[in-house]
Amino acid sequence: MIGVPPFPVAAPAPSLTDFLWWYIPPGRLFGLRLADDGRPLEVAFGTVTAADAVAAAGREQSDGRPLWCPQDDSGLHGYALSYAPFPLSGEQLQGLRVKPQWPPLPSAVPTDDVPPAEAQQPMLQEEVDLGLQLQFPVCSFLKETRTDLRLHAHYAAQGQMILTRIGDRISATTTVKNLLPLQDPLPTGLYFYEAWLEQVATDGTVRVAVPAGAISVGEDGTGTGYREFAADNVDGTGLPIDAFNGTAVTAQPRESAVGQSEYVILEGTLPRTVKW
């Protein structure tokens, strides 16, 4: 809601009263936890999310802090919450010479009428049923799962993985566009993008994920990754290529953040009807 500033509100959950909270219309929360001397220790972000979009198992951090809390007594909607340590003190910030940065933005008047990836790439089929060993490339279009790594905020990040069988080898070429380049001066805490081939269970759980090439994204937000696999034993998993039904692109945390899981940026599915 342009022009309506945030306003202070009570904590969204009893266990979060150590934060000061602001409601940002529409449907967002910002929290700030301060030390006794007023120095920020931690920030928190909340987004209105339907209860059924959040797995019950994912509603609490290991330290007991909520990752989701109900918005009202109905329990149908609530806030998905995330937390981040405050990265710098004011003294550090004042003394730091940093390159001026804002989140990526379109350079001209924003527009939403961007055709979807499918419309821009009509030459590739998503459903292929050849009934014989694959002779043509198969494309898995990748759909955006989080938006904060867009290069241009008003455009969706897009991508596709093209799988081609040549004899007993499968090549995977992944292209992405409109992703933020992950370079050292950017304090994203993320290191690089990587493509994945996945085996996804019917409940959505990713059982096996095989790296399908690191993706170097340039200043224009585009990048490509490439990897080859043995068709009957993908990446030494013992699984044939037809055991994989999903694709993804992730952003990897820096080495200092080992232990954090990858951030899934784009996800896709492989056609079920493909006969490899």
Partner: protein, 108 residues
């Protein structure tokens, strides 16, 4: 990385905090919360939080200033490389003191 079992299930992974940015004026840290929209914290020279700030993208014109400034958007920060001149792109910013008397108000 080798083949692994991922700790997430599709569509149910918890949201992650957005990356942090320094903006173009000293003493602020910013996080993107939507297209052309940021929330930030303003610090004093001793590292204490002075205000929470909310920014929305706009040009340095009276027309782009949210609600003509009536709702508190009284500060403008340029995009990197932009001059502080009429028509330049940047963020219109409202500040909310962290010791706001209404802090701890109604449940959201």
């Amino acid at each position: 990385m080798s083949a692994s079992v991922w700790p997430h299930a599709r569509g149910t992974a918890p949201i992650e905090p957005p990356p942090v940015f320094f903006g173009t004026e000293p003493g602020y840290l910013w996080w993107p919360i939507g297209p052309g929209e940021v929330v930030g914290v303003k610090l004093d020279e001793n590292g204490r939080a002075v205000a929470v700030a909310h920014g929305t993208i706009g040009r340095l014109t009276a027309l782009d200033r949210p609600l003509a400034g009536l709702t508190g958007y009284d500060t403008w920060h340029p995009l990197p490389g932009a001059a502080r001149e009429e028509g330049a792109w940047g963020y219109w910013i409202a500040h909310l003191p962290v010791n706001h008397p209404a802090a701890g108000g109604d449940r959201p």
